[in-house]
Homo-oligomer: 220 residues x 2
């Protein structure tokens, strides 16, 4: 984080930090609606109420702004995943993350659009997006492995664990894409049902989502 070095400086920088944040949030909206290539600095600047020059002042270039936006998304996203959720709980908490996403369509729209665009090796955000998936899948593998050690799930080989974790996150991305295209579908209910299919194959018994919601409320 660039702002970390200036966060505790007094006085005149406070406006800059606030403005910086405004720019990032506008940029997330614009990149989400038109993609990275399709969104323009002009458009973002107009939303914020400044000129394009102010944007390059803060972020050097359009690419620099994109990276800042992606970092912002990761922060927002991690906030919805309490570090206390370990083992099987990690996956039972996924619908909660999805629920949070429904309240900020811009971020998920931005992420999926940029992720698809950045899948090309020559895209400026390719490295960032690749590392992001590595991290997310890696964390999932760690927690499902933990669940296996704890006896929360049936025995699985390491490669089976990777496949199952990839499937769970693939389901999440895919359902969210369908919801972007048709927002009338019940995103959380659909996701719960399909994720429940997968998790119940792991554990051998049905998932009681109501009980999960109660437990989640007790220990947030």
């Amino acid at each position: 984080m660039v702002s970390a070095s200036t966060a505790n400086v007094r006085g005149p920088y406070k406006n800059g930090i606030k403005r910086r944040r405004e720019i990032i949030e506008s940029a997330a909206r614009v990149f989400g609606q038109f993609g990275y290539a399709g969104g323009s600095l002009r458009q973002i600047a107009q939303e914020v109420g400044v000129t394009p020059a102010a944007l390059t002042r803060h972020f050097d270039s359009k690419e620099g702004l994109l990276v800042a936006v992606l970092d912002y998304w990761d922060e927002e996203n991690d906030r919805t995943i309490p570090r206390s959720r370990q083992g099987l709980d990690r996956f039972l908490g996924m619908p909660t993350s999805v629920l949070h996403h429904t309240m900020d369509r811009g971020l998920i729209e931005m992420f999926l659009t940029v992720a698809a665009e950045a899948s090309n090796p020559r895209h400026p955000a390719n490295e960032h997006i690749r590392r992001r998936y590595e991290r997310v899948i890696g964390n999932g593998v760690r927690e499902l492995t933990r669940a296996r050690e704890l006896g929360q799930v049936h025995p699985m080989s390491d490669s089976e664990i990777v496949a199952e974790v990839r499937g769970a996150y693939a389901l999440m991305d895919g359902i969210q894409l369908q919801w972007l295209i048709d927002p009338t579908i019940d995103l959380v209910a659909t996701f719960k049902r399909c994720l429940g299919d997968i998790i119940s194959k792991w554990t051998g018994h049905e998932v009681d989502w109501d009980a999960v919601a109660r437990d989640g409320a007790e220990t947030p």
Copy 2:
């Protein structure tokens, strides 16, 4: 299809039809790599070896070209789904579609990139992409309903059927996205395993993918 009206005309149009096809295939590559907004007619024209003016001659506008590319994708895709596959067979055949996609990365890259971009209501391809998902999900719902009537799967309510079908296609999109970002993952094996989780919840017994492959080879 526009070319349908000229496909069986003699002589001088043959070159035009062939060129038209070249343009569409190049456009699919370029739109896949840079998105619709990010890809340019100049770039496509250069790949084909003509000037941008030739492109607008054939397709009127950039948007017209995009529509032609999406139609082309649908044709290519439908070719991998034999109409003979009904009921549960429809879903058992999904990994075959995915396998075909691995052999033409450009098309799946184009589709996912444009689908994410076009999720915005103001995107020129929004209507097209929305109808496409409606059709795909609708077909899936029809076949899973048929499977229910045939007793191939456990009883399910109509709304449960919709959720399960959405989940199956979400899984497919999501896994393909992960494969675009990291092509070293075993796309088909991962998809088979996770789809198997879902289908076995429907039927109550494990999916024997080897048997599916044998049956598919017998009746293509």
